[in-house]
Amino acid sequence: MTWKEVFTSSVGKKLVMSFTGIFLILFLIVHAGLNACIWANDGGTMFNAGAHFMGNNVVPRILEIGLFVGLFLHIIQGLMLEISNRSKRGTNYAVSYSKGSKWYSRSMGLLGTIILIFLVIHLSDFWLPNRAHQGFLLGEEINLYAKMQEEFSELWVVIVYVAGCLSLGYHLAHGFQSAFRTIGVHNKRYNAIFSCLGYGYAIIIPLAFIMMPISFYFHWLN
C-alpha cells in the first residue's frame, strides 16, 4: 500500500483529521496557557512578554508555519469529507434518525465551519495586524494586551468570541475522543479515560477562552 493509497482512502482521510486534530488540541493548550497570563493582572506585562517570545523567536515562528499547515489540512480535509459524506445518502429520509448519536457529533462540519469563520475574524483581529506590523518577519510587535482591551470593549465582539468558543467546545466534545478512536484506541478502559479527558478538555479550554473577553468587557482586569 503506497502512502497515496493510505491518504486517499476513507480511513486515511480520517487519520489526517485525527493527527491534525490532536496537533491542534495540543496547540490550544499552549494558546490557552499563554493567554491565561492576562489574569496575572499586571497590566499585561507577563502576557506581553509571553507574546513577545512567541512572536519574536525563530523556533515558535517556524512552528507557526507547521500550525498553519495542520490547520489548513484539517479544514480542507474536513470540508471535503463533509461534502463527500453528505453525497452518499442519495434520497434523504422523511424522518431523520436523531436518537442514536449526539447532535454535536453529527454537526462537526457545521461547528467546524462556524469555528472557521470565527477564526478568520480572530486572526484579522490580532494575528494579522501584529504580523503586518512586524513586516511578517521577526520585529517590533504591537501591544497585544492593549489590543485585547480595545477589542473586547465592544459587546458584539465579545458575543462573537463566546459563540466561537462554544462551537469549539462542542467540536472538541466529539473531536477529542473521536481522534483517539481513529488512531485505534479500542480498549474499553482507555476509551473511558479518553472520553473523560475529552469532556474535561472540551469544557475547560473553551471556558478559559470565553472568560478572556468577558474579563476585559466587565473590567475585571485593569
Partner: protein
C-alpha cells in the same frame, strides 16, 4: 397479558424500480392485533391491497426470527423501528398505540439502491467480504481443532463481532452512510483469532478500499450505528479496524 386491537395509518415508500421515482403512499389498517409482528401487520396490509386490486408492497424478509438479516425497514426514523437491539421482524405491534401514524422507508444509501418499494440491493456487502473477509484455507487443510488454544476472552470478543447479521442498519442509521461498523465487525472477528493473523494487513486494506469503491461514506464516530445495531456490535470494533489499518500502512511491504 392484555392485548388490544389497534388502527393505524401507514406512510409507506413506494417505488416501482431502481430507475423510477418513488413517493409516499398512505394506507389505513384496521383491527391490528398487538400480538402481531410488524411484518405480519404488513402481510395483513398486503392481503388488503391484493383484494383491492392494488399491487402489494415489496419488502425483504426471510427467517422472521432476527438472525438472517434480510428485513430492512426504516420505521419512524430508526432502522428496524423503536425497540433496542431488535430487527424489524421481531418488532411487535405492542410498540405502537391506537391511532399512530407510522412512516416506513427503505434503507437509504447510494451503495444500497432501491430495487422496489422497501427492497434494497445490498450486494455491496458481499463484495466487501470478497475483498478479504475470510481466512484463506482450502477444505482439507485443517489441523486438529484443539491444536491451537485461543484465549477465551479473545474468542468471546471475536464471537461478539461475528454476530453481525449483515442487515445494513448501520449504514441506514449513519449520517454518512458509512459501512464501517459492518466492515469492522468482520475485521475484528478475524483479527482477534490466530487464524486471521496471516492476512490481517491485506484484509483491512482491501476491505476498506472496496468499501470506498462501493460508494459508502467515511466514518465519523457518531455512534448511531452502534445504537441501532440489532446485534449490538460495539463501536470499539471500528477503533480496532483503524488500528489495524494504521499498522498496515506503516508496515506495508510496498
Amino acid at each position: 397479558m392484555e392485548h388490544k386491537n389497534i388502527n393505524l395509518t401507514l406512510k409507506v415508500w413506494r417505488q416501482q424500480s431502481t430507475v423510477s421515482k418513488g413517493e409516499f403512499v398512505t394506507y389505513q389498517v384496521k383491527n391490528i392485533s398487538q400480538e402481531m409482528s410488524f411484518l405480519e401487520m404488513f402481510d395483513v396490509l398486503n392481503e388488503q391491497l391484493i383484494q383491492e386490486d392494488k399491487e402489494p408492497i415489496a419488502f425483504d424478509h426471510d427467517c422472521r426470527e432476527g438472525i438472517c438479516g434480510m428485513c430492512s425497514m426504516y420505521i419512524d426514523g430508526k432502522p428496524h423501528g423503536p425497540w433496542q437491539a431488535n430487527t424489524t421482524c421481531q418488532l411487535h405491534m405492542r410498540a405502537f398505540n391506537d391511532g399512530d401514524t407510522i412512516t416506513v422507508e427503505p434503507w437509504r444509501a447510494q451503495a444500497f439502491p432501491v430495487l422496489k418499494d422497501l427492497v434494497v440491493d445490498r450486494t455491496s456487502f458481499d463484495r466487501i467480504i470478497q475483498a478479504g473477509g475470510y481466512v484463506s484455507v482450502n477444505t482439507g487443510n485443517a489441523v486438529d481443532g484443539n491444536s491451537l488454544p485461543i484465549n477465551k476472552n479473545d474468542a468471546d470478543a471475536s464471537f461478539a463481532a461475528a454476530m453481525c447479521i449483515g442487515c445494513g442498519a448501520c449504514v441506514a442509521a449513519c449520517k454518512n452512510s458509512s459501512a464501517m461498523l459492518f466492515l469492522s465487525a468482520k475485521v475484528s472477528h478475524l483479527a482477534l483469532l490466530p487464524q486471521g493473523d496471516p492476512e490481517r494487513q491485506s484484509r483491512v486494506v482491501n476491505m476498506v478500499a472496496q468499501m470506498d469503491k462501493e460508494g459508502f461514506g467515511a466514518c465519523t464516530n457518531t455512534g448511531a450505528c452502534e445504537a441501532t445495531c440489532p446485534k449490538e456490535i460495539s463501536l470499539s470494533n471500528i477503533a480496532r479496524l483503524n488500528q489495524e489499518y494504521l499498522l498496515a500502512s506503516f508496515t506495508s511491504a510496498e
